[in-house]
């Protein structure tokens, strides 16, 4: 639901991932981490929900 709302507001799908990995599932962890990294890299640097300096007067 949170992912849904974030994407609804304009965050790119692929920016946020959820996974359930047991501490014993080392291969799964590597796989998921690689997939996440690839997908996020493909999207390029994030431009949303990043605040460098408050945009105020």
């Amino acid at each position: 639901m949170m992912k849904g709302l974030l994407e609804y507001m304009g965050t790119e799908p692929g920016r946020l991932h959820f996974s359930w990995i047991s501490s014993a599932e080392s291969t799964k962890f590597v796989e998921v981490a690689n997939t996440v990294a690839e997908e996020v890299k493909a999207l390029g640097p994030a431009k949303h929900f990043i605040k460098e300096k408050a945009e105020v007067a």
Partner: protein, 352 residues
């Protein structure tokens, strides 16, 4: 002081000449609302209009404003030292604000620019801004300016007052600043006595449409008895303690100061705050002197309608613009509260 005529057909000439010396702001359309924004040509102005949703105050006192900046980089010799943020203060004109807003600015001046302390940002912006007001030929039904010491053609705080005539605006300068502006402006013609007469009639007619609320007795009430009055319980019930009334109010000036850090640098920022919020008075210890809604609602009205009057011998700190009446989500109507306060029987005397 001079009066000139600006023909509606020459409004663009007038604006063009203003733009050579000033940034021009005025009521412009922003979505469903009218707000103060940059004006480049006459067509940008959302005229005729009743009033802007938000008051003039943000022109002098932005909702969020960077006060200071600092470095937190340990390598930096000045790390931790708080420094002024450089700011520009171009000459500006606000064209077409309503007289109640200008009156409100003078009421806030008393707080921001007092003999002991001067708020530098407010003072600087006040100095570099010229206010050209537009009289209200058709006040709203929620307006009660004439009851609050202002009026649809009130000149207080304005440098120039415009009165809309059928094909022109009669512009009357009220201060040396306004005088200078009109002298340098193009698109103006001499005003005739007939123009002045028409304007005077429009003014009288507009004033007659406004309701009269009695506020005369407020200053003689005993502050503590008014504070302890039972009617506050009834007034406060509906309040949801949002900040709509205070943020839209032209005379509400309260603010909060916050530090924000990003990486190795930070800013000290001030933001509008509201006496409606519990956090406004919450002590670090958890104690809150205004913990209950009734205390916060009472504070807002007492501040405007009693404390201000007693403290400065002026006021009330309300100009009757009606914004809070229009915007309160639960219809708490300051006009009723004024009457409750004004009619409440207290023993004589403000202070014992």
């Amino acid at each position: 002081m001079t009066s000139v005529i600006i023909a509606k057909s020459k409004l663009n000439d007038f604006l063009a000449s203003l733009k050579s010396g000033y940034q021009v702001l005025g009521p412009v359309r922003q979505g469903d609302m009218i707000a103060f924004g940059p004006v480049n040509k006459a067509e940008d102005l959302a005229l005729p209009y009743s009033n802007t949703r938000l008051s003039i105050k943000s022109v002098f006192f932005p909702q969020s404003e960077r006060m200071f900046g600092y470095s937190l980089d340990k390598e930096d010799a000045d790390a931790g030292i708080i420094k002024e943020t450089p700011k520009e203060y171009p000459n500006r004109v606000v064209l077409g604000l309503r007289p109640c807003d200008a009156k409100a600015v003078t009421l806030v001046d008393v707080n921001m620019d007092n003999p002991q302390f001067q708020d530098p940002w407010w003072v600087k912006r006040r100095e570099t801004t010229t206010l050209i007001g537009l009289g209200c030929e058709h006040p709203c039904s929620t307006c009660f300016c004439t009851s609050m010491g202002s009026g649809p053609f009130d000149e207080t705080g304005l440098d120039v007052l415009l009165t809309e005539l059928p094909d022109a605006y009669l512009a009357k300068s009220l201060t040396p600043k306004g005088d200078q502006l009109l002298k340098q402006a193009k698109g103006t013609d001499a005003a005739s006595p007939a123009n002045e007469k028409t304007a005077a009639e429009i003014k009288t007619k507009a004033e007659q449409t406004l309701p009269q609320l009695d506020t005369a007795k407020l200053k003689d009430k005993n502050m503590m008895e008014l504070f302890n009055a039972r009617f506050w319980e009834r007034v406060q019930f509906a309040c949801i303690n949002c900040g709509a009334c205070t943020f839209l109010c032209p005379t509400c000036w309260c603010f909060d100061i916050q530090d924000e850090v990003s990486k190795k640098a930070g800013d000290r920022i001030r933001n509008w705050d509201s006496c409606m919020f519990p956090l406004f008075t919450l002590h670090g210890t958890g104690h809150n002197p205004r913990d209950h809604k009734v205390q916060r609602v009472r504070q807002r009205f007492m501040h405007k309608l009693k404390y201000y009057i007693d403290k400065y011998g002026d006021g009330p700190a309300c100009v009757g613009c009606g914004r809070c009446v229009q915007a309160c989500p639960v219809n708490i109507d300051i006009r009723n509260v004024i009457t409750l306060m004004n009619e409440y029987q207290t023993s004589a005397g403000t202070k014992a």
